[in-house]
């Protein structure tokens, strides 16, 4: 059986008798992409699960008011973006500390081998991404990993296309600098190892 379209899912959701079934299908359809986006933002798997749950609970309560001319995935992605940013803000408030300390915690989680399966260069990349401020990190992840168009990103973040381009370009340069620095450091340490 073919996967139902978003329009079909919304139509099913609006019928009382098929509401739960439609919601289950909707979660199955979109959970992986949203999970990956959130995981790249908050790193920790348990926190990712909590944020993803919140995203779908908000979708459950808001889907009745969802306009059918908008894209369901963009709408869910927008909720995921907002929830991830809010989670990082709460984290900062909870720790009574700066963005730098939150970044340290995220990198610490990343370094835990049980959560991360990438090689050395992937670890360097993710560490570099973690050093970006949360909103810029979201922009980078959307464009670089998820390959969203700027117009779509603009709908998700509520930011202008021009500002997004600028933010992405700055992020790319920062990460390239971090990666190049990381590589030159590892080149220098190799002879002594």
């Amino acid at each position: 059986m073919d996967e139902p379209t978003d329009q079909e899912l919304i139509a099913l959701f609006r019928k009382e008798e098929s509401r739960h079934y439609a919601f289950n299908l909707l979660v199955r359809k979109h959970q992986r992409r949203l999970y990956t986006f959130i995981r790249r933002m908050v790193t920790d798997p348990d926190e990712t699960k909590d944020v993803l749950q919140n995203v779908f609970l908000k979708a459950w309560t808001g889907l009745d008011k969802f306009r059918e001319d908008a894209q369901l995935f963009s709408w869910l992605y927008r909720i995921a973006h907002n929830e991830s940013i809010s989670h990082l803000k709460r984290m900062r408030r909870g720790l009574f500390t700066s963005d730098a300390t939150v970044t340290e915690r995220l990198v610490g989680t990343l370094d835990s081998s049980e959560h991360f399966s990438g090689d050395m260069i992937q670890r360097k990349l993710q560490r570099a991404v973690m050093t970006l401020p949360p909103k810029q990190r979201a922009v980078f992840n959307m464009k670089y990993f998820d390959e969203l168009k700027y117009e779509e990103m603009s709908r998700v973040t509520g930011t202008s296309v021009g500002a997004l381009k600028s933010s992405y370009h700055i992020a790319v340069k920062k990460i390239e600098a971090e990666l190049t620095l990381g590589l030159s450091r590892s080149d220098q340490t190799k002879p002594g190892e």
């Binding site: 798997p45 609970l57 670089y144």
Partner: protein
């Protein structure tokens, strides 16, 4: 992607050869069976009956009412005294008679010879018209005689 974006993208790729030379893999590990269990878990949470609006209002009221009472109390406590409408000079005798039983000034003074009594000056207290009338009424003061003495 339009032509302009394509050019921008190519320029960016040239500026960041290391980044764009990497494979875009997902290095984050997800526990086995997570995506099979998750839809059921989130559905169970969504199906839980929500709290009624009445409950939410009661919860808000439980916080708001004591706060409001505290504010009202603070306003009442900080409010200045009423504007005096009349001032009545109170003599030593009147003061003595209105001294509280707790201090029992009369019995203290009775134990002392008169020359050792402290010098009492006439003290002026500010009373409102109603308070002054109540004072006169309570102490059966003959106003005509009082004014004549003054």
């Amino acid at each position: 992607m339009n032509q302009k974006e394509h050019i921008e993208d190519s320029a960016l790729r040239k500026d960041a050869p290391v980044l764009f030379g990497l494979s875009k893999q997902d290095p984050f590990r997800v526990e086995d069976g997570f995506f099979e269990r998750f839809p059921h878990e989130v559905q169970a949470l969504a199906s839980k009956p929500g709290k009624s609006p009445l409950f939410l209002w009661l919860k808000r009221a439980a916080v708001a009412l004591p706060a409001m009472a505290l504010v009202l109390f603070a306003v009442h406590a900080l409010r200045g005294p009423e504007v005096p409408l009349a001032s009545v000079p109170v003599t030593e005798e009147a003061l003595l008679s209105t001294t509280s039983d707790q201090f029992d000034t009369q019995s203290i003074l009775a134990g002392l010879p008169e020359e050792e009594w402290p010098a009492f000056d006439s003290v002026t207290v500010q009373l409102t018209a109603n308070e002054a009338l109540a004072y006169v009424d309570q102490h059966d003061i003959d106003l005509t005689e009082y004014l004549y003495q003054q």
